[in-house]
Amino acid sequence: MLSPASKSLRDEQLVFKGLKQGLTLFIPEKDSFLHWLEVLDRQLNQARGFFQGGTILVELGARKLAPGEMAGLKRVLAKYRMRIKAFNPLEIKRFDSSSPEQPSVPCGVLLVKQTVRSGQRLEHEGDLVVKGDLNPGGEIVATGDIIVLGALRGIAHAGARGNRQAEIVAFTLAPVQLRIAHLISRAPEERKGRQGPVVASIKGEKIVVERL
């Protein structure tokens, strides 16, 4: 998945590319950053008007920027009225469940030994086990299965990349929402949740909760 980036970064020239995430500037890992800033300035100057006034992503690969280098990059871009939206878009793990099933990279199981509280969000490529509760206002997202060894009271999204076989298991289930692949379900408005252990999975076109 990282191949286009690594290729561009090994190339010895500055490249602008249109990725799914947006227009991305690839700065090669070789040579000094200052050198590339000069090249960037020259290129933008030549292409005057073409890139002007937009936001871009910047892919740096393994390069780490010093604060001064960061400021330099921003200064050059600002000259052409451009702003940085984000860095290293190829590493950004925003799951997009609307896209068709992608071959998911199995990253194994992540065990989280704490309660996920309001305002906290956990994301994982693979299966996710929470040894604790998922409280209202908290969110957990996994590309595989989700298991909560406690009370699930927040939002859980299993199979986030579109895996319809994914399941959500909890000891007590009283969620704000359950999501599996592209389906979303709301808990019935009963006060007490289901005492578990219970499992939620897709049956037909619906999320169904059953005793485990």
Partner: protein, 266 residues
Amino acid sequence: MAGRVIVVTSGKGGVGKTTTVANIGTGLALRHKKVVMIDADIGLRNLDVVMGLENRIVYDLVDVAEKTCRSVSKALIKDKRLSNLFLLPAAQTRNKDALTPEQMIAIVDELKDDFDYILIDCPAGIEGGFQNAVAAASEAIVITTPEISAVRDADRIIGLLQEKEIYDPVLVLNRLRPEMVRKGDMMDVDDINDILAIKLLGIVPDDEEIIISTNKGEPAVLNAHSKAGEAFRNVVRRMEGEEVPFMSVDGEPGLFGRFLKILQGK
């Protein structure tokens, strides 16, 4: 000696942070501890009013941070009643940006060696003011009331405290109304513990005396007849490591109630 630095916080406003700081501070001082209370609610200061010390303020927290006054001790206000209780008031004419977490840490470091307890009254919210108040603390007391919104905010705060490496906050459940809990109209201690799952430091019943004592500028903990005062005295004893049983949620009948029960043969 290095004192304990404890922030009192809640996320939601109006649940009783300032009242709790005033009462715990006074309660600890009654036990001959040397205590300083820092009001970190810059721009909306209240602690001085609740303590009845408003008219003695000369310098404030921002003056100390900006070195307008020569040392922290210059800005400390001694309590009217207890000579080992001090207040470092917030600035009223500034806002939360007037202070940085680094300045807060420096101020607390200067006070640490002279006091047994440093209590920090945190502003509501999770923005800059919260960050400042929490920066110097190593312990936290989270306040909530038995309302779903306050509990939700407390949960958020516990998560944020974890990020600040304060892992074992304790809970004060404020304004519980036993008769409502009995009727099933109010969340009870178990409901709240179910979600927050942190150690309980105290349960403070709803008490009209609190409003009277706040308006008088005299913490309820000084009032032997106030139920809330009693609860705060218990909180203080627990902070000092004593094992004190919790008030029964069924509501403790007062002396008259107990007398009545005996008469009725119950």
